[in-house]
Assembly symmetry: D2
Homo-oligomer: 360 residues x 4
């Protein structure tokens, strides 16, 4: 349980820092006989790649995934799938001079304290680059879930700082609509303001946080393992394991805390030949188990800690100093988190789906 | 991973429904040599007990815990600790007539769909009674954490519907202060309004949600296992596994999503002989690892689903009906969740502390 | 992984020492809808009970199991099943005077070194009494495996010291035949010699070891999870976790190490409408996966360490002494291990069967 | 638990078939700050490599390991260590024509039945090549165990068919002595006979099994987690997870089953400033916990299933046929299993050592 594995029946174990040979993962438990190519996985990796637009950092990492094992003649064998993306751009020199100064709200200090050593440059395992292994593993899960149950998972940017998107129809939103603009906010008017705002932040050397919404449609009824592995509990863990996340809410969320039971309760009704609910304050999960309604949740993401404005802080030895970060930085990363959120969701659902199938 | 176990090195496995012989848990991995009596565990169990006040339901369950194993002459042996609380009040008749109607926003429907069977009365494992096993196990963890590191964990009610407590000093708040009123809100003026409000809801047959805040003081630096078992990720899972929870936020939370990096970043400073931060938007965790600052988080809890007002809904077979629940119900349960949140927090920290001790 | 849990999808967590309130287990993952009564479980518990005959120790423990949870109206709910057997006969005084002398080949010394504390009397968790929780959990698994697949598991005593049973037809042997004599050796002539031998050992205050054989018939093809959880690997773990076991062999076992490939290989042949093998040196498992042939294995059990003959040894502090154990002791326990071996086998198969069902 | 991971605190997840891009593993939980180079790992990989002598198959695979992550400037970071060995020699054509015939005592049949698909050529995950990932991970564990506690693990061939080595002094035997001849039997006279025998088998197109002995010296007292993860139970699992193993015995093993308690019990005595035993029938483990004496065990290995002699058998569809395998094959592989046994032993001890360190 040293932290780099997730899932029980569909188990992903990730590895890799920003500046070693590469990053990747091993997936144990992928069902045999699934059609799978590197291209199937690459789509989501490419979506999370930096350097896609003026909003994000202008690095040009290729992030081409290679399947190392577990697939033959385009079909999964049911054996572990090794996934690997080489690190092409290592540039450790960018960070070298900051070694005596733990970057504020980064993990330099805590990694050093925890392990007594840390990667000499960059964020090591706390870097967003670590997520490549999960995204690749989750992309496989997405494919199986979609082919098996028609599961659709779509995330989008619903807020950038104080700028909030208008209502988005979670029952219809598609990834194509989300990707229609570079900030991945389906409300184009607000998206334009967001892009303008982020561009101005880049000039100021500052950054800003935001909120992601995610919906899962066509999730089979019955997923989630009460009581500690309730579906929303595992989703919460999955989302809070993504770098920079600060909050998670399902269905009515914090707003639900203000509501009365007579309003919040979701009445049952006959719906498309099954029992459904007329409202969905539950967010598609009741008693920790999916109920067939869309699963809807939101994730709060803090502003990137790396900014180019000068920051008064202290060195590891406690001396006051001022940190001025150089090099590339992203003023806003919530749009890049979209595929990470989607694939982490897939990892949770995949594990739960296999678990439920084991139940006679 | 069938859902009823939590933790790896300090592992609790719970059992029990509302209307069987009893509820409890087995704790595997408790350090040997800890002084432990049933009284040590009973305190938190009594705090979570219903029937404590006019705010909560007037059941009078005793919930006396019995240690079945693992302790001899008042000391833990390092072997599994069996914990058991008999069910005294079973009264299955209360629910009998509702068997054809899945209660809205309860787990009747999803349990039936998932397992093909469900407890014939009451909420089964989705009932709050299930939490007894965890609270007992967590109370042991609290004791060890406090004796070993001086860890203090305090939760309180910060909102009841729209009523919000004023600022509470998380660096000093105590359980005695929290328990000073029956609604467990340390802002006495607001607490009085809350009590009045909840009393009126009881008369109306309605219910309301609320928000809990929790702080952990004196948490050792270095707890949390990147990347999937980051400290906030495991806390999020733990909190969302508590019945009726809808959201979790750590540190700045959703408010942090609106902030700029230049404001959100927590600058380092020399503090009491160690490196600390001048602000704590991180909520005591950076890169998934505790940094020595207070760990602060909030949990959203929805209104109890059981209300006595009539609810239009449908039967299992899809026929429209009106449900009128009889018998006891709680209009507000956030105050009873206080010890559950504290002990679940202890379960997470305990597991992480033992994990970090294993690291040479 | 503190050691007292076994299995992933059908997970048993045991608790209890010889002289606390009782012993038992929690089973998480039992399929819902299984008919289950305490009587179903009691049969195997009674078979492992001491005091059944002059061969074993004359204690009269009742070992009546109580189902604490997870079953309602005679059906499993799919929720955790709590199982409990009260300790009726505690008599800690029997062992009191030996506290300064670690009993040779017992676990007194190693428990004290590992935990820094140990149960003040008796073997604590190293006592055979610990196995009650597993036997109860395994008895449920047996029932499900038999009802679902027709799985039959039969173990018997094949050797007592140098006395070896003649050939037993593993394809037909039944538990009734095994229980036909008190030493559970289906070769009645050899059984008579064994009983005579064990009786003489009791008079001499000595003990002897033996060998158990076990066969599983009608195991579904495809169970076992390569590579670390190969079926024979988990069986080996399960068997070596039983107190006093010293060896495990599957199929040809150590004899197979002497054979040539041309003799050892099991040729395939058409058999009852499926592909089978003409010989079974593989013991029903190939590549870690069951192949449909009977699974056959053997377990070596050492002589009980508790004997009444005087033993020169040393105290905890290293002083030479002579230990003369008083009170009850069993000169031979291999017959009592029969239900333990059978139920541990069921625990392995159950977990593997659920695992394989999860695979689409 | 899909089978390709082992360990909890030092967790290895392996991947790779015989004929994909390569094989390897991810190690999660390696202590930070350990000096580590590829050369440290390569030694054991090279020892397990085929093609080392006329006794083994004349393939010339290089099996050069590459560290993908987790190590910087020659020190482990405490983060996952990715390990990879490319497959250089794939030659799938060797096996192509046998696709309709499940090879006797191979895993072709069971993999096909379990997964509904199998690697089109070679043994897939059941091939000995799979062990590369574990050997690499175990070599790191060996290094840490040796540097931390002085642990020495030495395995050797003690039998080849009916040829048995004379007594080997387990308290002194070294790897250099074992490697003094190609068959890795420290009794040179017997080794010469073994080599002669194996050479003759190659000419006959046949194969033979054998026995490995293994000793662990300087194992710390207190390792092993009662009750299911007793040290001998995990060793048994580890050994039976190695391809072609058929049996495991610890200490007195099957011979112990014939002994009397008065002879088998290991009396305590003062020894080098600690309590030790005068005999070691327990094999260094009592109550599932290491007692400070050498841990001694033996493993039975069956004859390799691939032989070039014609074998009557059946096709997948049940038709009688005769299989004549072509290409390379090893008549004896027990000598190549030496490093696999040693490193699997290290994986077990490493996990148990970290577990025990977590215990306050």
């Amino acid at each position: 349980m040293s932290g780099s594995s997730f899932g029980t029946l569909y188990r992903v174990s990730t590895f890799g820092e920003s500046h070693c040979a590469g990053v990747g993962s091993v997936v144990d438990g992928c069902p045999p006989g699934l059609s799978l190519s590197e291209a199937d996985i690459q789509t989501q990796l490419t979506r999370r790649r930096p350097g896609q637009s003026k909003v994000n950092t202008p690095r040009d990492e290729k992030d081409q995934v290679k399947i190392l094992s577990g697939v033959e003649n385009g079909k999964t064998l049911g054996t572990p799938i090794g996934l690997f993306v080489a690190n092409e751009d290592q540039r450790p020199k960018d960070y070298g001079e900051m070694n005596q100064i733990p970057r504020p709200s980064h993990a330099d200090f805590t990694y050093q304290e925890k392990y007594g050593i840390r990667a000499s440059s960059g964020g090591g395992r706390s870097s967003a680059r670590e997520t490549i292994g999960r995204v690749a593993a989750g992309a496989i899960a997405e494919k199986w879930l979609h082919e098996t149950y028609g599961v659709d998972i779509v995330a989008w940017v619903s807020a950038c700082g104080d700028l909030e998107a208008g209502e988005v129809d979670a029952s219809r939103i598609t990834r194509d609509q989300v990707d229609a603009n570079i900030i991945r906010c389906p409300d184009q008017t607000v998206a334009d303001h967001m892009i303008e705002f982020v561009t101005s932040l880049r000039e100021e050397g500052d950054s800003v946080g935001g909120v992601l919404n995610c919906v899962v449609r066509n999730c089979p009824i019955g997923l989630g393992e009460p009581v500690f592995d309730k579906l929303e509990a595992k989703l919460a863990q999955a989302m809070l394991s993504i770098p920079a996340t600060k909050g998670f809410e399902i269905g009515s969320g914090f707003a639900g805390a203000r509501m009365r039971g007579s309003v919040h309760n979701d009445p049952f009704t006959q719906k498309d030949g099954r029992l459904g609910t007329t409202t969905n304050h539950s967010g598609g999960i009741q008693g920790g188990i999916s109920n067939g309604e869309p699963i809807e949740f939101r994730i709060a993401i803090k502003p990137p800690a790396t900014i180019s404005r000068a920051q008064p802080t202290a060195t590891f030895s406690g001396e006051e100093t001022v940190l001025e970060a150089k090099g590339r930085h992203d003023p806003f990363v919530v749009n890049r988190a979209v595929p990470i959120v989607e694939t982490m969701t897939a990892l949770v659902l995949m594990d739960m789906a296999l678990m439920q199938r084991s139940r006679p």
